[in-house]
Amino acid sequence: CFLSWVVYFYCFWKFGDPFPIMNPKQGIFSIEQMISRVGVIGVTLMAILSGFGAVNCPYTYMDYFARVVTATDVNNLEKRMLQTLEMIANKKKKLLLEERKVTSQTSEKEGWWARLTSSLRTNETLALLSDEIGSLEELSRQLYLEIVDMNYARERLAMSKTLLGQYFNFTGHIFTGYLAYKIFMCTVNIVFDRVGKKDPISRGLEISADWLGFKFDAQFWAQHLSFIIVGVIIVCSIRGLLINLIKWFYAISSAKSSNLLVLLLAQIMGMYFVSCVLLMRMNLPPDYRVIITEVLGDIHFNFYHRWFDVIFLVSAVSTMGVLYVSHQTSPDKYH
């Protein structure tokens, strides 16, 4: 197991090579190297997840995309599935009768040729019946999964009529706006190769102070607001990550691999957190930026922001493409 840890560490190291983060001033085992490599993987993960989440969130929240499913649809499918199960039961009964015939026939003393042909015939019918049963069982499973999907769609429809559903619908619209803004900013950043100097909270407060003519101490409010917002963002994103990881864990874990999987997920969580802190540096006022820079060492922050923007753009666009294709090709009725 020491060997596997060495292999893992080596892969981890090699992974950081193509990125421009080597600094000849520092030694091999300095903390900057570690942080930089951890940061790369964490930032990639974060960008992929946020790109996916930013597109998926409005898609699941807004009613515009919801499937229209009625109770009669579900009833029809249920009847079909039950009929299929009945057919399976009948065929299995026939199979058992045939098998009993085979075992009773072998005890009779007929001519060997007659016995051979009759046993061949029953073997053929047995094989045929088994095939039919197999395909019917597969059909029943497909129908059942379809029923599960339809029930989920019905629940979603029912929820959309409640107050909570309408609230979600409203926030879905807001998120679409935020997504458009973010994509625009990412493209601008990449094209013009710039990194924002001032954090968005301070800038927002400045703009509002100019327009609305409020006379308050922008600095004071800036630091509090930005802390609160950064805290909220970090908490929400870590929570989202943990929920996704748990879903993943249930999906792919088995009795043997669960320990390994837990350790791997713990590593991923750690990397994610570090990169969160890294990226949040941009959102804080300049005084606090210095603190984080001191803690994390002298690494190229700009690179991370660029990398995040690129991956975010790629992930968001690909998610949109996939969702669009699946939306168009599904034969269901929508609003």
């Binding site: 009929q83 039961a89 599960v148």
Partner: protein
């Protein structure tokens, strides 16, 4: 001779992963496919009793919580017996059997999250008239001698079921074993109960009893009426 017109259906319920499908494969002597049940697996057993042979259908419904909203379609059917399965190495699955029995008693109509009082639960459990069997699986995984987890709620006695424990993966040891005999006895009991119920039904049909007297036929009507005949 084999009676192919009558249907005897037994529902197999239990938590996800306790071994319902393995149990059903063991009883019906088929090869087990080691994957989680999606929907419902139907297996048929040819049960030889003293008088004749009967086909018994075992409907094994998948227990994973993801499919909870769609399971009701199976619970609504017309069943003649109930088998509850739990894992001998997992005490939570033992207490969850009460939930499964309640879900069956309510025919999956009311959502499981709604809380009902303990007396209501007790009456519901007692109202299940069909024969019930409790099977504990994974007997080979028990480290010490089997010691049944104590029933803290006291509701297991309301269920009034037989209890056996078995190792579902050992096909060879099962044939001719005591557990196989117990299951055969249970099937006999199911067939007898079904005959009694249908006799009472026929008698009630032919000679309608006056409405004033509290006849047992009304309760028979209620239990037979609950499922739709598909």
């Amino acid at each position: 001779m084999v009676d192919t017109t009558e249907k005897i259906r037994i529902l197999v319920l239990g938590d996800s992963g306790v071994g319902k499908t393995s149990l059903v494969n063991l009883i019906s002597n088929t090869n087990s496919k080691p994957c989680w049940t999606v929907g419902c697996n139907v297996e048929v057993v040819l049960h030889e009793s003293r008088d004749n042979s009967e086909f018994i259908e075992l409907w094994d419904v998948g227990g994973s919580s993801v499919h909870e909203n769609s399971r009701a379609v199976f619970l609504r059917g017309n069943y003649h017996a109930l088998i509850l399965v739990h894992d001998l190495t997992n005490s939570k699955s033992y207490t969850n059997m009460i939930k499964w029995a309640l879900e069956f008693a309510q025919r999956g109509e009311t959502p499981a999250r709604r809380r009902i009082s303990r007396e209501a639960e007790s009456t519901l459990l007692k109202s299940i008239e069909i024969p019930k069997l409790i099977v504990g699986t994974k007997q080979d995984h028990l480290w010490s001698r089997s010691r049944y987890t104590t029933d803290r709620t006291g509701l297991m006695t309301d269920l009034n079921a037989q209890i056996i424990s078995v190792n579902c993966l050992d096909n060879i040891q099962y044939k001719g074993s005591y557990q196989q005999q117990q299951i055969a006895n249970f099937f006999d009991q199911v067939i007898k109960h079904k005959k009694n119920a249908s006799n009472k039904f026929n008698r009630a049909f032919r000679s309608p009893t006056p409405a004033s007297s509290p006849s047992p036929s009304s309760s028979i009507f209620s239990t037979l009426d609950l499922g739709f005949n598909f």
